[in-house]
């Protein structure tokens, strides 16, 4: 039977399937549910220095995928610092799994937030979602986190708007300890053809695409990044079942994250995907997730 435990940046995950920072882990209660649902580690929803506005509606189905205009946590950071992180920390300790806290966005904001979250964090994940194509703000954010923290710093990248290999190299040079690829894809746009209005709320109706449709794009990004840097990679984008996790691992990921599937199927989905991954490894004679990591690169890159 395959051993699903994975070690990344000195942290031991009980399996390689984690929640992605999003509405599926929007508070301490949901993080606790994720731990109970079999997640290999926990990742909390991104916070920033202020609470995010909540456009309504901020999710809509498009064929085979979802559009969202989800920003960062709609709760103020004070709430996380005074209550939610403590609940999440307790859940992580009880399950014996790491807790990763997601922060956004600029260097100034990270410098402000990082020291405050340190008591609860085994690692932090920096979202670069709104930083644009120039790598400089991302580098500044990494520098701010590294200066304030003695825990691993992961950097989450958006799939378009920058060349992934160059961005990953810049993140590595700036001191990032792992790359998370990718965030949802966009901006995207959909219309309700009965009303002529955008499917999503917000000032422009723009959103980001998530779910199964973006998986090939995210797998490509992981595959590219894995050839460009020596850092561990966490694959995210359309992971719905065990076979999807296998694909990300073969492309070079060490861990995967799940958001849309958890919204649709609930917090037990992490454990189900991990179990399916284990079954697949057993059926194919692999002893661990590590055994298939980067297999596609070994086969395809001379």
């Amino acid at each position: 039977m395959a051993d699903l435990t994975v070690e990344v940046c000195g942290l031991r995950f009980r399996n390689p399937v984690l929640p992605a920072a999003g509405p599926n882990v929007r508070d301490g209660r949901m993080l606790t549910e994720a731990a109970h649902g079999g997640a290999g580690g926990l990742v909390a929803k991104t916070i920033s220095v202020d609470a995010a506005p909540v456009p309504m509606p901020h999710m809509a189905e498009v064929r085979g995928s979802m559009l969202n205009t989800e920003l960062w946590s709609e709760m103020p950071p004070e709430r996380w610092l005074s209550y939610e992180y403590a609940v999440a920390r307790r859940a992580a300790d009880e399950a014996g799994i790491p807790l990763i806290l997601s922060l956004g966005y600029s260097g100034e904001e990270i410098a402000q937030l990082a020291p405050l979250v340190r008591p609860w964090a085994d690692a932090v994940e920096l979202s670069t979602h709104y930083l644009g194509e120039d790598a400089t703000p991302m580098i500044q954010a990494i520098a701010a986190a590294k200066a304030a923290l003695d825990v691993p710093v992961f950097v989450k990248m958006s799939p378009l708007g920058r060349e992934m290999r160059a961005a990953a190299r810049a993140a590595q040079d700036a001191g990032a300890d792992a790359i998370v690829a990718t965030n949802s894809l966009g901006p995207a746009f959909g219309l309700d053809i009965e009303t002529g209005y955008p499917l999503l709320g917000g000032s422009d109706g723009y959103g980001w695409l998530s779910g199964p449709a973006i998986k090939p794009l995210s797998v490509r990004c992981v595959y590219d990044i894995a050839q460009a840097v020596d850092l561990p990679i966490i694959g995210v984008g359309g992971v719905n079942r065990g076979e999807d996790a296998v694909e990300f691992l073969m492309a070079g990921a060490s861990l995967v994250q799940v958001c849309t599937a958890a919204i649709i199927r609930g917090s037990t989905v992490y454990g189900k995907i991990a179990s399916q991954l284990g079954d697949w490894l057993d059926q194919h004679g692999y002893p661990s997730p590590h055994a298939i990591r980067g297999l596609a690169i070994k086969k395809t890159v001379p």
Partner: protein
Amino acid sequence: MPYYETPLVERRELEHHTLLSLHAPELANALRPGQVVMVRCAPHASDDPLLRRALFVAGATSATGQIELLVEPTERGLPWLASQPLGTKLDLYGPVGQGFRLNADTRNLLLAGTGPAVPALLFAARDAVARGLAVMLLISAESDHALPPPFLLPPEVEYQTSNTGSASLFHLIAGKTEAPASKISGKRKAARKPPEPIPTLGHSPLAWADQIFLALTEPLITEAAQTVKTGRLRWPREFAQAALAGPLPCGLGTCYACPVTTHDGQRLRCKDGPVFDLRLLG
């Protein structure tokens, strides 16, 4: 939120609907009339449709451990659901949201509605009859075949229908004898065992009722509220409650795609509803 894989134990093809019975004992115990279940409506290996479909529950029986869904194939995924063979394990979660709140002193219950939330009224009717209440059910639809058949109800229920869409619904509620122009308001089934007291034509069901539970879509809220205001001297809280049909993409309070504007601010249909006090809406 509890998730279940529930076997389909009975499927009954009706004229316009399919009635599905699922074996789900825990859920059958937990469900209240007006609540919803979120059902995955795609084959195991498919992600289309990606999101579950929200269905108002048409019945739940603790004794048999079964729940009933009345499926109208109006939305992508629902024809697939309606066509599943017996034994299929359906992936669903629930109960979602807040159901109807029955007052302890209610004796006469008026149920009225149209549209996708109507199954909630069938559940409410069965539940109320089991509690010994007198129940009148008024339903309007665009055509006869879109109306739920009477055999889905206990014989004690007084069931009146209209096949002229929502326009006549409020005439039925108010007990107006004149139907809207060029439309027919018909009594579909005579009461087999009339509850006591029961209004006769010319009397207002609204005046008779201790509570009214409605199944509506949002465009009908204003007219519903106006009908209650006109027909009642007193309109206490919880007297009129409405199960609101509309999009429920996640059913978890996560997507914020089911907002309802109330007098207390914006609320979510999936968490704060789908049943709301009509006073908050109209």
